[in-house]
């Protein structure tokens, strides 16, 4: 009769120390280089670029020509038809004046958003809602020119761009089909040259400067 032999296999623990060493090196490196804030972008054109693209416009069509001037006193808003607040302009006052709190100047960008929405976007969006720009009432619908004075700080310019691009909260109930999130997104698919607009936008195509 064959002798039955039993082989005892000793299970050794895996040595985790090299992996631990590697992890302990990788984690501080990644912690140092990781970015915990999310960086986004605001897309703008120079006036020269926007002039080039609007060359093909139909002369019979109307131009809105929305312009926001950022001055030390506040926001001056005008269109091709003239100042958006002629009475205030006649008195040398801006449409939306700056306020002072704690010795610091504050630009009322939320008021600017509401003003542009109620004065220019809400009365005109139905006439300009066609996805094909050729069928819209204003040839330059969605475009705005922002003209900051030299000493205006960069943060104020960014806040102004936000105010002209994003719809105010009341648009959820007043504008059809804007959705509940009210977001305006520029998207560029890989390999594509042009950016595409998605979501609910007010005047997202901004050009800066004179």
């Amino acid at each position: 009769m064959a002798k039955k032999t039993t082989v005892e296999i000793e299970m050794e623990d895996i040595n985790l120390m090299p992996i631990m060493n590697l992890l302990c090196l990788l984690i501080p490196f990644l912690l140092l280089s990781a970015q915990f804030i999310q960086i986004g972008i605001i897309l703008v054109d120079t006036p020269r670029k926007s002039r080039n693209t609007s060359k093909q416009k139909d002369d019979k069509k109307k131009t809105m020509g929305l312009v926001v001037d950022i001055t030390q006193d506040g926001y001056y808003i005008s269109t091709k038809a003239g100042s958006a607040c002629p009475d205030r302009k006649a008195n040398g006052q801006p449409c939306i004046a700056v306020t002072h709190s704690g010795g610091k100047k504050k630009y009322m960008h939320e008021n600017l958003r509401k003003f542009i929405y109620s004065k220019f976007y809400k009365p005109n969006y139905k006439k300009n809602s066609d996805p094909d720009p050729a069928n819209r009432f204003f040839v330059d619908w969605g475009k705005v020119t922002i003209r900051p004075q030299d000493m205006i700080d960069y943060e104020t310019v960014i806040q102004t761009l936000d105010a002209t691009r994003e719809l105010p909260p009341e648009a959820k109930n007043e504008i059809d089909g804007v959705g509940s999130t009210l977001t305006c997104v520029f998207k560029k698919d890989s390999g594509k040259k042009e950016w595409a607009l998605q979501g609910a936008c007010m005047f997202p195509l901004a050009s800066l400067g004179r």
């Binding site: 960086i39 986004g40 700080d153």
Partner: protein, 184 residues
Amino acid sequence: MARELTPEEIGAQKKLDEKKLARRNKKLEESSFNITSLMDALTIILIFLLKSYGSDPMQVPQKKNELMVPKSDTMSNMSECVDIQISRTSIVVKGKKVVTLTNKQISSQDAPDGYIIKNLKDRLDDLRNKEIEQKQEKAAKFQGEAFISADTEIPWKLVDQVLKTAVRAKYYRFSFAVVKMRGS
């Protein structure tokens, strides 16, 4: 002189020693910590960090009193292009410092006509030529886009000078870097 121990006493002493030894061994066994749970935690941290690393095509360093980009409601994400950083002390293009600023302003030597920044234009011209060469190999077109990260307190004049210089170097479209307030 010490008294000789009786056999009972020797037996009791031996038992006591054995007990002590057993207790010491038990302590030693307990002190060898379990590394597996630590490994699990480290692996989770590593995965989280790897996920947050390199999701954006370009990095924007946030340095206090130097370069803090403003916050915004935007939800748009960046795409890769020429990267210009305007901090309180310098202008950096694709990692290379081109201009030093004094009091957040360009000196008249750097911008003789008051607007076009000479060193910046030279650097952008170089980058444009390189990009055009690369794109010709791939049969693609030069897009003329620049990504600008500027500090919140920079006066508009400086940003305008950079934009005008970039336009002169045939970059016409700009994306301003901002910190997203609403998440992705």
